[in-house]
């Protein structure tokens, strides 16, 4: 548990949900709250990086506003993304939703206030599209993918194999948690948690 003086770290608080290994495992993910922003296009495109900017701008502004007001401190979590089905789709049309996990005490009015102040500073591009999002993923198959994003299919195949063996099928968007920054780390060393919500096959 955290004391008042300690900083809240949601990843540490929910350690089991983030303790992914290269070998896929089944995990139970509790409901969680995120800041989210939706868009379309390739991850190397302008829409994607603009959305990242808006999301981080909001995440840090909300955190610092609360901290300044003495409402407690917490670590801003890492970037995550939901990728609904993108098979047979051109990259430019890929739909995604970028997420940053956020404490449950964050409210819609925190977002409104942050969007207003960012807009006042001329840093408001896309911030009005950031909203609160609650995910209830439940049973998932999860693995740590080490390597380039392009090589994810190798890990995903192993995840599918495990869930099929256990009698599960996909139920919901493919979820990725980016543990490091692709601008700073060589592709072969990138670590990404891959998470696929599943349900029992009937």
């Amino acid at each position: 548990m955290t004391t008042a003086a300690e900083k809240l770290d949601l990843y540490k608080e929910h350690k089991k949900e983030y303790a992914a290994t290269k070998k896929p495992t089944m995990v139970e993910i509790k409901p969680a709250v995120y800041l989210g922003i939706e868009g379309r296009g390739g991850p190397d495109g302008e829409a994607f990086s603009e959305a990242i900017g808006a999301l981080y701008g909001m995440a840090f502004t909300i955190k610092m506003t609360r901290k300044f007001a003495g409402k407690g401190d917490y670590a801003v979590c890492k970037l995550e993304a939901l990728w609904p089905e993108i098979a047979n789709m051109e990259k430019e049309k890929w739909p995604w939703e970028l997420l940053i996990r956020t404490p449950e005490f964050i409210e819609a009015k925190d977002l409104e206030q942050a969007a207003a102040v960012l807009t006042k500073r001329g840093k408001g591009t896309g911030v009005e599209r950031v909203r609160l999002r609650r995910l209830e993923e439940g049973v998932c198959v999860q693995a740590l993918h080490v390597g380039a994003y392009d090589e994810e299919p190798r890990t995903i195949a192993q995840m599918q194999e495990l869930s099929a063996q256990r009698g599960y099928e996909p139920a919901g968007a493919h979820h990725e948690i980016y543990l490091n920054d692709p601008r700073r780390i060589a592709p072969e060393r990138l670590k990404t948690i891959l998470r696929q919500p599943v349900k029992k096959r009937r």
Partner: protein
């Protein structure tokens, strides 16, 4: 500007070493020593440490101890006199330092011909002077970058370097609630003093965040412009408390053989990732040392 060679650097630091040896009992002033070597006071201590392998303070202390050892081994001078001359107020403090340096008590070295110090550099040994500027310890990647001037919001920290986190906290909280963390601003640290030379409580450090023209200051947070121009940039990977080692390599090994001179402006650090969510071993920091501009015809070879 004439390009400076490795030998020039060695000569200049050599002059400082000589000056220190000849004035071993005088107080050592940074400005004076920097002037002897013709280096900017901003960088002198780091170049010295990088090339000599110890700070000026450590160097002076060791030389005084070695002189004391020489006096003791030669004859019948009372230990307390030697201790006072070496800058110690008590027999006990002198004995402690002496033992740490040579492994034996001061009284035990009477009549000994040679005493080995662990550093391998010895008092009065100008002929055998060795520099630490030889390349060592893995590859070192230094890039010369042209940087634009940066307008930054800054908050001054005076005190131990390992407490700058509190100043950062205040800067980021204040600026964050006002929306200045949008647009992914860069985070810079300007170190006006060397944490290894200046007394901890006097170290001046500016925590800085890049801002646009619209920012005019906010309470205790001021505005300044970090000069543009050529910089030698080296990425330090690892915890912040080991940045000193990278400064030493940049200033002591790279700089003397770069043919370049540092400009009379402070070096700064750019923090590339978030210490709150990054393991200390994975932290990345760009160390940026300002270089003098080359004249035409002296461009990079």
């Amino acid at each position: 500007m004439k390009t400076a060679t490795l030998n020039d650097y060695k000569k200049r630091i050599g002059c400082v070493l000589e000056h220190i040896e000849q004035n071993l009992d005088a107080p050592m002033r940074l400005e004076k020593l920097a002037a002897v070597a013709c280096f900017s006071p901003y960088h002198f201590h780091r170049i010295f440490r990088g090339m000599v392998g110890e700070s000026v303070k450590e160097y002076v202390r060791r030389l005084r101890l070695e002189r004391a050892a020489a006096q003791l081994s030669r004859g019948a001078v009372p230990v307390i006199d030697v201790a006072l001359e070496a800058g110690y107020d008590s027999h006990a403090a002198f004995t402690r330092s002496f033992k740490a340096a040579f492994g034996i008590a001061p009284s035990a070295c009477r009549g000994l011909w040679q005493i080995e110090s662990s550093s391998g550099v010895h008092y009065g040994g100008a002929a055998g002077r060795s520099f630490r500027s030889r390349r060592q310890g893995g590859k070192m990647k230094v890039e010369i970058k042209q940087m634009e001037p940066m307008r930054v919001a800054c908050l001054r920290h005076v005190g131990p370097y390992d407490e700058v986190g509190e100043t950062w906290d205040r800067l980021l909280t204040q600026m964050g609630k006002e929306g200045y963390l949008g647009g992914n601003p860069a985070m810079l640290g300007i170190c006006h003093d060397d944490p290894e030379t200046t007394p901890a409580e006097k170290i001046r450090y500016d925590a800085c965040l890049t801002v646009d023209e619209g920012f005019m200051g906010l309470g205790p947070i001021g505005v300044q412009t970090v000069a543009g121009g050529s910089y030698a940039v080296m990425t330090h990977k690892g915890p912040y408390n080991r940045l000193g080692e990278s400064y030493s390599r940049l200033m002591g090994q790279w700089l003397p053989r770069s043919g370049r001179e540092l400009r009379d402006a402070p070096a700064f650090e750019i923090y590339l990732n978030d210490p709150q969510t990054t393991q200390p071993g994975d932290l990345l920091t760009d160390i940026c040392a300002p270089l003098q501009e080359l004249r035409r015809g002296e461009e990079e070879k």
